[in-house]
């Protein structure tokens, strides 16, 4: 039908000018008239046909009880994503004339673009130590990590940026860009970039995750935040406090266990939510399983960095069902890094020379976590309560590989440092949340093996108040009372004050539990 109309139309267009010129040719005009007439009748038939079909479809789609009611619906309202209408009769609609029901999720995330969001995180900070306090809380004394006998030596991670680097005054912590999408029926993928205030871009996460594996299995691969513990996986914007807690900050560094590798999780068919997981990661860590540069390794007689994966983790999370209003999750995690190297420096009273001991070995990390949430079902979070606590214990089992003191070469050193934090948040009013946190590092803070030494602990109290103006913006004020052990018998006690804003632009996906 269509080609014939097209031909006729084309013919009309081609012949029309000619016909105008040769107006005398009556026969041709008559022929054109009949052609046009024919086209018009064809169109009219088709339009009538369509109108009939439309009327039929409308009759079928309208439920019997709704015939009068649908008049009340404003017909002028347009519907860009109209779902196929459905017959109310108990007989299934015939498959050819009616499309099957709509199985997707209605979504405004259109045109196959990934979901994009930008989160702006900035603050005003002030401490009583001209801004050096923010760095100090990440350098609380622990015998491992090169800090043992030398407070001036700052263990500077070679990972481009620091989330904790604050000055007294205004700071822009980061703009976090996130992209996420379903790649195809088999994979989801996401990328998170942190743009720091000097314009440095850091790849926080970039991973793929399976969506079609059976039996409750999922595989994640790429660069990602490990599921070790609870706080490890959270990006800074999801923290309930402005800064990271002391155990994570000191035992794992600014980024926690953020590494490249593969994760397998299994949610077995058990009466209680139980998630089991294992990860194989490259092991390129800031603090837990760090390795030195090539030059340092050669100079100090250490082994070269081993092939990955060097970091392995295991975790289990169990969450009993406590009904509609409450949720509880308990987790246990273990991580093992097959290679850890560090240099410890010391000086002797009668010499100027700095002595370097090179140590190498393995590192273990244990974690316990518990999270409890109560949904107060008040307006805008009023009455909501959240309690979160974690315990971390890091054990580094090292041997002295080289030293200016030959008698200690080959002797063993075990460095054990632990810590925990506990924090509680309560929705004191619609949109307002008050929080309190106590965190401590070094309840056990000791060196064992060939030599014994015991150090004290560092701790901190934090109080904060968060105003969530909407789902997409929040302002937070936080006060912290720090008591940080910086050397064997030296403490720094100082107050720190933060004002933070968090702005979420664009589509912001759901947070995990």
């Amino acid at each position: 039908m269509r080609p014939s109309i097209l031909t006729a139309g084309l013919a009309t267009a081609l012949i029309a000018p000619a016909a105008a010129v040769q107006a005398s040719s009556e026969a041709e005009i008559a022929q054109l008239r009949s052609m046009l007439e024919q086209m018009r009748s064809q169109y009219e038939r088709r339009i009538q046909d369509l109108e009939d079909r439309l009327a039929r479809a409308e009759r079928q789609s309208r439920p019997p009880s709704a015939s009068a009611a649908s008049a009340a619906t404003d017909p002028a309202i347009s519907q860009p994503m109209r779902a196929p209408s459905v017959s109310t009769s108990s007989i299934p609609a015939s498959t050819t004339s009616h499309p099957s029901d709509f199985r997707g999720a209605l979504s405004s995330g259109t045109a196959f673009n990934p979901q994009i969001s930008v989160i702006l995180n900035g603050n005003y900070y002030n401490d009583g130590r001209r801004g050096s306090g923010a760095a100090l809380v990440g350098q609380a004394l622990q015998p491992s990590g090169g800090l043992a006998h030398d407070q001036d030596h700052v263990h500077e991670a070679d990972h481009g940026h620091s989330h904790g680097g604050l000055n007294n005054g205004f700071n822009f912590s980061e703009a976090e860009l996130s992209f996420s999408a379903t790649v195809d029926p088999y994979f989801d993928a996401a990328a998170y970039l942190a743009v720091m205030d000097e314009g440095d871009v850091h790849l926080e996460e970039a991973w793929l995750q399976t969506r079609a594996l059976p039996h409750g299995l999922r595989v994640k691969a790429g660069k990602f935040l490990s599921d070790f513990g609870y706080a490890n996986k959270q990006h800074p914007h999801a923290w309930d406090f402005v800064d990271q807690n002391l155990p994570y900050l000191n035992l794992l560094g600014d980024h926690g266990l953020q590494d490249t590798g593969v994760q397998l999780t299994w949610l077995p068919r058990l009466p209680v939510y139980t998630l089991l997981g294992v990860e194989a990661l490259q092991g390129d860590q800031e603090r837990f399983g760090a390795t030195l540069s090539n030059e340092d390794q050669e100079r100090l007689g250490l082994d070269a960095t081993k092939n990955g994966p060097r970091l392995w983790t295991l975790f289990a999370k169990v969450a009993p069902d406590l009904g509609q209003d409450q949720a509880l999750q308990v987790g246990v995690s273990y991580a093992h890094n097959t290679q850890h190297q560090e240099v410890q420096t010391h000086t002797h009273a009668d010499e100027d020379e700095i002595h370097e001991n090179a140590l190498a070995g393995e590192a273990d990390l244990w974690g316990l976590d518990l999270v409890y949430k109560y949904d107060g079902s008040g307006p805008h979070g009023q009455g909501d309560f959240k309690f979160q606590t974690e315990y971390l214990r890091s054990v580094k089992d090292l041997d002295i590989v080289s030293s200016p003191h030959p008698e200690i070469i080959g002797s063993r050193r075990t460095f054990t440092t632990d810590g925990f934090y506990a924090q509680a948040l309560y929705g004191i009013a619609p949109r307002w949340t008050a929080g309190v946190r106590y965190d401590v590092l070094g309840l056990t803070n000791e060196v064992g093996g060939g030599e014994h030494a015991d150090y004290g602990s560092s701790d901190r109290w934090s109080l904060n108040l968060t105003w969530k103006l909407s789902e997409f913006s929040q302002l937070r004020a936080q006060y912290a009372r720090n008591d940080i052990l910086v050397a064997a018998n030296e403490r720094e006690r100082f107050d720190a004050f933060y004002l933070q804003f968090l702005m979420s632009l664009g589509s912001h996906g759901a947070h995990a539990f």
Partner: protein, 297 residues
């Protein structure tokens, strides 16, 4: 000892399978749970994730939801992004490919019917807007009939042995709605109107031609200012109406407004009780009709 634990776990798993219903259905709220019960009767018992005391928009994903979704054959959601803050995370955490959007195991009620408030500006300066349309379709019994018909077909496809039951259930539900709609329409004819907190009952008002006199929050998802309330009071003074708000909305403002206007005020959930079935759902609509009809000049 560990071996014995393993055995008992295994026994639990096997027992779970043996006792399983023909389909494991999870509904996001109690309206949809009621609809599943209306269609399936004794054949299925749905798990309802969120009760009527909670705001479906503000919920957080919980492990117990992932546990429920882990073995689900079908998840029945309201959709149109109402559950966007938690359902995608819960489905992802459940590691269950059968219930991913686009599969037979994923059903959105809002996608089966025509939506209201469609095509509004996607501008967050206007608050928490839904450019796809207002998602609260479950308060319109007539749209629920359409949803029930589509859901019955979906259940029939997933569980062909029960097809007759589901279709029969849909027909019975349609009939029950039809019977009561006439009565409701008569009682609501000429109702002076309702002041809502949020545009969450517009489908019900629209269905019965009841005027929406205004919303207490002038911007969706943002609490009203004193100025907003003053304007509302000035605008509505001297008229008749009723103030209706949901359990999770702040009661102070609606109560004060109702007092200032001399109107009745009613706290009504948007969804029926957790254990409601088809009749329970219609009784829930009955409460709304009663409250709206109570406001007479």
């Amino acid at each position: 000892m560990p071996f014995r634990i393993l055995i008992s776990l295994l026994a639990l798993i096997l027992m779970g399978n043996a006792l399983a219903a023909p389909l494991n259905v999870v509904a996001t709220n109690s309206s949809l749970g009621a609809l599943v019960r209306a269609l399936a009767g004794e054949r299925l018992e749905p798990t309802v994730l969120v009760g009527p005391e909670h705001d479906l928009h503000q919920i957080q994903a919980k492990p117990s939801m992932m546990r429920a979704l882990r073995d689900a054959n079908l998840v029945v959601a309201i959709g149109a992004e109402l559950e966007v803050g938690w359902l995608p995370a819960a489905i992802a955490g459940a590691a269950n490919p059968a219930i991913q959007p686009g599969r037979d195991g994923y059903f959105e009620a809002a996608a089966q019917v025509e939506l209201l408030d469609v095509g509004k500006a996607a501008d967050r300066a206007l608050g928490d807007v839904h450019p796809l349309g207002n998602p609260h379709v479950d308060l319109d019994p007539v749209r629920m009939v359409q949803i029930a018909a589509a859901l019955a077909e979906r259940l029939a496809r997933l569980d062909p042995d029960g097809a007759a039951i589901y279709r029969q259930g849909a027909a019975v539900f349609a009939q029950a709605v039809e019977q009561r709609v006439a009565d409701w329409r008569a009682r609501l004819a000429g109702a002076p109107g309702v002041l809502l907190y949020h545009r969450d009952a517009v489908y019900l008002l629209d269905r019965f031609g009841v005027p929406l006199l205004g919303t207490i929050e002038s911007t969706p998802g943002v609490p009203p200012t004193g100025q907003d309330l003053l304007e509302l009071t000035t605008k509505l003074k001297g008229r008749a109406g009723v103030v209706i708000y949901a359990p999770y909305q702040s009661p102070q403002v609606p109560t004060k407004l109702a007092r200032d206007l001399g109107w009745p005020v009613k706290r009504l959930p948007l969804a029926p009780p957790l254990e409601a079935d088809g009749t329970g759902y219609l009784d829930h609509i009955e409460h709304w009709v009663e409250a709206i009809a109570a406001a007479r000049p």
